[in-house]
């Protein structure tokens, strides 16, 4: 009978359309089935361990799990799972469950993605619908699933198309996270807690985490507030959210050295597979972890360190009641602005934020030669194509491992363009906070300010990252003929043979997929997503392309080796693509030269005004998007002008 407790099933009722005509006779309320009259409708009550997850909203936070009234219907052996599930559900929610009434903002049928507000509407227009269960048969099926599903993965994959359309909570403004991500996070956090929790079942049930025994949810979590005077009691259980940035000191000498990225991706894949419940979400160079306080990070990242990578991480330790992935930002901001009211509460709850670095062992000194690539280890002399190189064994092994990318023969002696997508997770957190605040402002609700402060970005981040991965996959579906992927299973990186037309097509394809997945995420300097293009001769050192990719300034960053480096926002680039005409070239050169000499916008404006009739498009561009003529010219040169690069 008892299989694994599948925490992911706790919200299965949210996939049921209670308003469906066929289900009216069942008088269904809420999204759980603990009060459903199985006998009356002749339906067999589920008997699996997972069934007890249906009680997750009936338990009172301050009641003892041994003696509390709200616990009395739950058999003792199932109480620990339910207890931990409730903690996990609280930790994974986008807005604290403990907040006061939100007013009458209404409900939404489907999920509202802050970066793609019409997502559900568009899916609905394609014939999709959020509810997986609408009929009597479906209702019986829910109970069958609770009884028989054998793994979280089975449930998630089987109902994926509905879970991604359904919000975690239909009431605004809680409708911003998909049910898929919510239950996925709840499942992971539940299993981490379960793994590290000591459960004693004698005459009385005792739950301990890091040696601290608790009897109520409230004991474990403490209060839910980080400021003010109310609800700030210290909790007994603490845990950690850790943001890990995977970095490397290597600079790529030869093209094959980018195999290091293959290695990084493989190691990340292995870590995510090995610690899948601890990993909340990950990108190619970032891993978000939920960990109990005692768990060593060094052991988790051992393989990375052994291969020369280092891990920069920000670790937030807090009571479960206030722990969230973006708490570090709040703490640092409070300390920076010396907000004693917040600092006092956080200190009294022993809340800490560390910034640390995990490094491989480093020798005190290295007798030359030192490795050209990692610049860390002693190197050996190696000869290739009559050039002496000093490479350490590890870097040499990476260089030689696997199949390495080679430029096609016809690219030799030509200009090429390397490009890389980037997702900046710090920008993402700031952007989500800002977008959430704007959403709150658009609703007529009470406690708007409190809600803004209590936003928990983890689930939204995870949803955003999933869409980012879909977006770059979609990009490659469209751009496969235009560009090559130097690393076959790494979608962020590409390279193509330069031509103005190709550059334009790549940018257009990027804009097309970006507008499909992130239409409501402004593509500006604060954008979490960016694309960088680096144009150079085929012989130009690969390391310099990567150096440029390290710190993208804006939404679209273009560098033409030794000629220019410009950043553009989405609005500007769309205007440029749609409005720039070839007849304007000479005028642009003139404007750029005036700007270069005078550094004065006034001089440029006067020149444009003098020529506004003959140069209508430039005049419109300049006044509408307000970017320097030099940047307009640069864009024009790389996308429009035949052989322009060779001239310069």
């Amino acid at each position: 009978m008892d299989k694994e407790f599948i925490a992911e099933l706790h919200d299965i009722g949210k996939l049921l359309d209670k308003d469906s005509p066929e289900l009216q006779q069942y008088d269904l309320t809420g999204h759980t089935f603990e009060n459903f009259d199985f006998g009356k409708f002749g339906i067999e009550k589920p008997t699996s361990l997972s069934w007890w997850a249906q009680y997750h909203h009936t338990i009172k936070d301050d009641e003892d799990l041994n003696t509390g009234d709200s616990w009395k219907d739950i058999p003792q052996e199932y109480r620990p799972d339910l207890f931990l599930l409730i903690l996990a559900d609280h930790l994974a929610s986008s807005i604290s469950r403990a907040l006061p009434q939100l007013g009458s903002a209404g409900k939404s049928e489907g999920v509202l993605k802050l970066w793609n507000r019409k997502f559900y509407e568009n899916e609905k227009n394609k014939g999709k619908y959020w509810a997986a269960f609408k009929s009597e048969v479906d209702l019986k099926n829910i109970f069958e699933i609770i009884n028989t599903v054998s793994s979280p993965e089975d449930f998630l994959s089987q109902y994926n198309e509905y879970l991604i359309l359904t919000p975690e909570d239909k009431s605004k403004p809680r409708n911003i996270t998909s049910l898929y991500t919510h239950i996925e996070l709840v499942g992971k956090i539940y299993r981490v807690l379960k793994k590290h929790c000591e459960i004693k079942m004698e005459s009385l049930l005792e739950l301990k985490l890091n040696g601290e025994a608790v009897k109520t949810i409230k004991d474990a979590e403490g209060g839910n507030r980080t400021e003010g005077n109310q609800n700030i009691e210290k909790g007994k259980w603490q845990a950690r959210f850790v943001k890990c940035y995977i970095k490397y000191p290597h600079s790529f000498v030869r093209l094959q050295d980018i195999n290091l990225l293959v290695k990084r991706n493989k190691l990340a894949e292995d870590l995510v597979a090995k610690y899948k419940d601890y990993v909340m979400f990950n990108t190619f160079d970032f891993i978000s972890l939920f960990l109990p306080t005692g768990m060593e990070l060094k052991a988790m990242f051992k393989d990375f360190l052994d291969n020369g990578f280092f891990i920069e991480y920000i670790e937030t330790i807090a009571d479960l009641g206030i722990l969230r992935s973006n708490l570090d930002i709040k703490i640092i901001r409070a300390r920076k602005s010396n907000r004693s009211d917040i600092i006092k509460v956080l200190n009294s709850r022993n809340t800490r934020v560390y910034r640390k670095i995990l490094l491989p062992e480093r020798l005190d000194k290295v007798v030359p030669p030192i490795c050209d690539i990692c610049q860390i280890n002693p190197a050996k002399e190696r000869m290739k194509e009559n050039i002496k190189e000093w490479i350490c064994d590890k870097c040499y092994e990476v260089r030689e491992c696997g199949e390495s990318f080679k430029y096609p023969g016809e690219w030799q002696e030509h200009k090429i363009v390397w490009f890389k997508f980037n997702l900046n997770t710090e920008n993402l957190e700031s952007w989500l906070q800002k977008a959430f605040e704007e959403y709150i402002d658009s609703l007529n609700i009470n406690n708007a300010q409190t809600l803004k402060h209590e936003f928990r970005s983890l689930a939204c981040q995870s949803d955003f990252v999933k869409d980012y991965k879909y977006m770059i996959e979609a990009f490659w579906d469209k751009a496969n003929d235009l560009a090559k992927k130097p690393i076959s299973n790494y979608d962020e990186l590409g390279v193509f043979l330069y031509s103005g037309e190709n550059v334009k097509k790549i940018i257009e394809t990027f804009l097309e997929v970006y507008n499909e997945y992130f239409p409501d995420c402004e593509g500006d300097y604060s954008s979490p997503i960016s694309l960088s293009l680096s144009i150079s001769n085929v012989k130009y050192p690969i390391r310099e392309h990567f150096r440029f990719f390290e710190s993208p300034d804006g939404f679209l960053n273009i560098r033409n080796q030794n000629i220019f480096h410009s950043s553009y926002d989405k609005k500007a680039i769309e205007w440029l693509i749609n409005n720039l005409q070839s007849k304007s070239l000479h005028f642009l050169y003139k404007l750029a030269s005036i700007y270069e000499k005078t550094k004065s916008d006034i001089s440029v404006i006067v020149e444009i005004m003098d020529n506004r009739k003959s140069q209508q498009d430039i005049s419109d561009l300049y006044f509408k998007i307000n970017i320097p003529p030099e940047k307009i010219l640069n864009f024009y040169r790389i996308t429009e002008v035949e052989n322009e690069l060779h001239k310069t």
Binding site: S251, V353, Q375, I376, N386, N562
Partner: protein
């Protein structure tokens, strides 16, 4: 703790990233303690501890192609491209060099001093002139390091390491020999005089 702050102007400069192999040599955008040590040893003949920071927006990165000749074999070697910092606009590159003040080193020593920093001096790179001298006593703050410094010199600069990023800087022992010594790199989390910090931080220690 006090430092002598030298405001200097530089024509153009190459401070290599120690990548000795290959035909492309990127340039650092900070002046490590090893470079300062070498420059003053050359010019004043004494061991001086200091680090430097180039002022943003006073320089740009350009490429210099250099054909090396093997003097022994009388043949040309593969030319290499070295990045260098070149002044932005019509002015000069501006930098601040901080020297640890002690009884043996006074500000007078640097008045109007001209010296050479970094590599390829024979090609005219690195000519540096002290324009102004101040004495500063900065506050100690927690933050991210903005300079490169030998690890064993941290005490001299009043730097306490909280979470290091280590790399190596070359340490010459004589005119032809030397070794790579462990050094603290940019973005290490430290408690240090604020002049050495990229940004102040507020993490637990």
């Amino acid at each position: 703790m006090s430092f002598i702050k030298l405001n200097v102007e530089i024509d153009s400069v190459i401070i290599g990233e120690r990548v000795k192999g290959g035909i492309y040599r990127p340039c650092l955008e900070t002046i490590p303690s090893s470079t300062i040590r070498g420059a003053f040893k050359n010019c004043l003949g004494s061991e001086i501890n200091g680090v430097g920071i180039f002022l943003k927006d006073t320089y740009q990165i350009k490429d210099f192609v250099y054909s090396v000749k093997d003097k022994f074999l009388e043949i040309a070697k593969m030319p290499f491209v070295a990045e260098y910092l070149s002044p932005k606009g019509n002015s000069k590159i501006k930098a601040e060099i901080y020297i640890v003040k002690n009884d043996e080193i006074s500000s007078e020593l640097f008045k109007g001093l001209e010296f050479y920093l970094g590599a390829l001096k024979s090609k005219g790179f690195g000519k540096t002139k002290v324009i102004d001298i101040e004495e500063v006593s900065p506050c100690i703050k927690q933050g991210l390091l903005n300079v490169r410094i030998y690890e064993d010199e941290c005490d001299k600069f009043n730097i306490t390491v909280l979470s290091p990023i280590y790399g190596y800087l070359f340490y010459p022992t004589n005119i032809v020999n030397g070794f790579y010594k462990r050094a603290l790199f940019e973005n290490s989390l430290v408690k240090a005089p604020e002049i050495f910090l990229k940004e102040e931080t507020f993490y637990d220690e």
